[in-house]
C-alpha cells in the first residue's frame, strides 16, 4: 500500500478478453502493485497488513512526491484528498488516450435502461464510419461482452465482483488489454448504478447518462449527482412513451435544474428513432478531439 496512490482493496476483479478467453484475476497483492508504473520511486513502506512483504526487486527512479503531512506531536495534519489516487490514475488514462487520439466515453445508467442494446445498435449502425471498441463493466457474467462481440466489435469484460462502479485503475488495465487503435472511440459501459459511478473519473472525455422512459421523469432529481456529472442525457425507449407516464419535457427540465449545461437527446435503440442525432453528437466530439490532437501535435 502506498501513500501516493492509497491503493484501495479491490482484489477479486476479473478482466476477460472473450475473444481469446484470456482472463486475469487481480489478487490483492497484484492490485497493490498495479500502480507502480505510474509513480516509480515510491518507498514501498508496505505493512504486512495490506500487502505481503516484498522480496522481489523494484526499479525506483523518480523522486517520490513529498507527503503532505506535518507532524505536530501525536497529531498528523494530512489535508489529503481521499480520491486523489483515482484522480491521478484517471489523468494518466486520459493522457494515454489523448496521445493515441482515442475518444473514451463513460456510459452510466441504472440497470435495465437499455445501455447494452443502445451500444449494440450504435456499433452496428456506425460500422465502417467510426472505429469503436468497448469495455464492459458488470458485477458478474460475460453476457454483455458476448453481445458486443456479436456485433463484430472488440470488447473487454470487467467483472467487479462486489464492486458497484468502475475505478480508473482497473479501466487502465482494461484499456491496455483492449489496445484500441488511433482515432477510435472506446465506450466504457459502467456498472448499472445511478449513484456510485458519478464519483469516479475514469479518464473519459465525457459521461453520458442513459435514462429510459420506463424509469420515471423524476430520476434526475432523485439521483442528482449522476446528472450533474454527465454532459449528455440519452432518453431511451422513446417507442414506449405512449404506454408510460413519463413527461419528456419535465425530465429535461429536471436534469437542467441539476446541470444547466446538460444536453438531451430522445432515442429508441429498438426502432432506431433519434439515433442519428446521437451519432452526430458522437462524431462531432470525435472530430473535435481529433482536431485537438492535430493542433497539439503541430505545436
Amino acid at each position: 500500500m502506498c501513500t501516493t496512490c492509497g491503493c484501495s482493496n479491490m482484489e477479486g476483479v476479473i478482466i476477460t478478453d472473450p475473444a481469446s478467453g484470456a482472463m486475469r484475476i487481480l489478487t490483492k497483492a497484484e492490485r497493490d502493485h498495479m500502480h507502480a508504473e505510474g509513480h516509480p520511486g515510491h518507498p514501498h513502506a508496505h505493512t504486512a497488513i495490506y500487502a505481503p512483504a516484498h522480496t522481489h526487486p523494484h526499479t525506483h527512479e523518480a523522486v517520490v512526491e513529498a507527503i503532505p503531512a506535518a507532524l505536530h506531536g501525536t497529531t498528523i495534519a494530512l489535508e489529503q484528498e481521499i480520491l486523489s489516487k483515482n484522480r491521478r490514475i484517471a489523468e494518466r488514462n486520459r493522457g494515454w488516450l489523448s496521445s493515441r487520439g482515442v475518444l473514451a466515453l463513460n456510459l452510466v445508467s441504472s440497470p435495465g435502461s437499455g445501455k447494452t442494446s443502445l451500444l449494440e445498435r450504435t456499433l452496428r449502425d456506425l460500422r465502417g464510419r467510426v472505429t469503436m471498441s468497448v469495455i464492459e463493466g458488470d458485477q458478474e457474467t460475460m453476457n454483455d461482452a458476448e453481445r458486443i462481440r456479436a456485433t463484430g466489435c472488440k470488447a473487454i469484460q470487467i467483472n467487479t465482483g462486489k464492486g458497484c462502479h468502475l475505478e480508473a485503475e482497473i479501466v487502465g488495465e482494461a484499456l491496455a488489454a483492449l489496445d484500441a487503435p488511433a482515432d477510435s472511440v472506446v465506450m466504457i459501459e459502467n456498472v448499472g448504478n445511478l449513484v456510485c459511478p458519478a464519483l469516479f473519473d475514469l479518464g473519459e472525455r465525457a459521461k453520458i447518462v442513459i435514462l429510459s422512459v420506463t424509469e420515471g421523469d423524476d430520476k434526475p432529481l432523485k439521483y442528482p449527482h449522476m446528472f450533474h456529472a454527465s454532459e449528455l442525457m440519452l432518453i431511451n425507449k422513446m417507442d414506449l412513451l405512449p404506454y408510460v407516464d413519463f413527461d419528456v419535457e419535465r425530465c429535461i427540465a429536471n436534469a437542467r435544474q441539476v446541470n444547466p449545461n446538460i444536453q438531451a437527446l430522445r432515442v429508441s435503440a429498438t426502432t432506431g428513432a433519434g439515433m442519428e442525432d446521437w451519432y452526430h453528437w458522437l462524431q462531432d466530439l470525435l472530430h473535435s478531439s481529433q482536431m485537438g490532437r492535430l493542433v497539439h501535435s503541430a505545436v
Binding site: 501513500t3 492509497g6 484501495s8 513502506a45 505493512t47 501525536t74 458497484c164 464519483l199 442528482p224
Partner: protein
C-alpha cells in the same frame, strides 16, 4: 455503496502515514454536496479498520457547507442542497465548495 471503497482508501492512506503506530483518531472533511453519506462511512469504518492500526480509532467527520454564485443575478449564498435554487429562481448556479472529500488530520499513539 461507494462509501466502502472510499473508506478503504481512508484506511490505506492513514495506515501508511501511521507507520505501524496505533491510530487514535481520524478527522475527515466531507462536503455536504458530495455524494457521500457520513453514516455510511461510519458503518464501513468499523469494518474496514479491523485488524489494522486504525482498529478502535475515533472517527470525526466535519461536514463543510456548500456555497454557490447565481449566474442569473450574481447573488452568492450558502447551498445546502444540490437541488436548491437561488431566491431569484435561477438554477444556473456555480458551485463554490461543498464537494470536499479530505482526510484533515489523524492522531497516533
Amino acid at each position: 455503496m461507494h462509501e466502502l471503497s472510499i473508506t478503504r482508501n481512508v484506511v490505506a492512506i492513514v495506515s501508511e502515514h501511521a507507520q505501524q503506530r496505533k491510530v487514535l483518531r481520524v478527522t475527515l472533511e466531507v462536503g455536504e454536496l458530495s455524494a457521500i453519506m457520513p453514516e455510511a462511512i461510519r458503518f464501513c469504518f468499523d469494518i474496514c479498520t479491523q485488524g489494522t492500526p486504525l482498529e478502535g480509532a475515533r472517527l470525526d467527520i466535519m461536514q463543510t457547507p456548500g456555497s454557490a454564485t447565481c449566474r442569473d443575478c450574481g447573488a452568492e449564498f450558502a447551498l445546502h442542497d444540490i437541488l436548491a435554487r437561488c431566491v431569484c429562481g435561477g438554477t444556473h448556479l456555480v458551485r463554490r465548495g461543498g464537494d470536499e472529500l479530505n482526510i484533515k488530520e489523524m492522531e497516533v499513539a
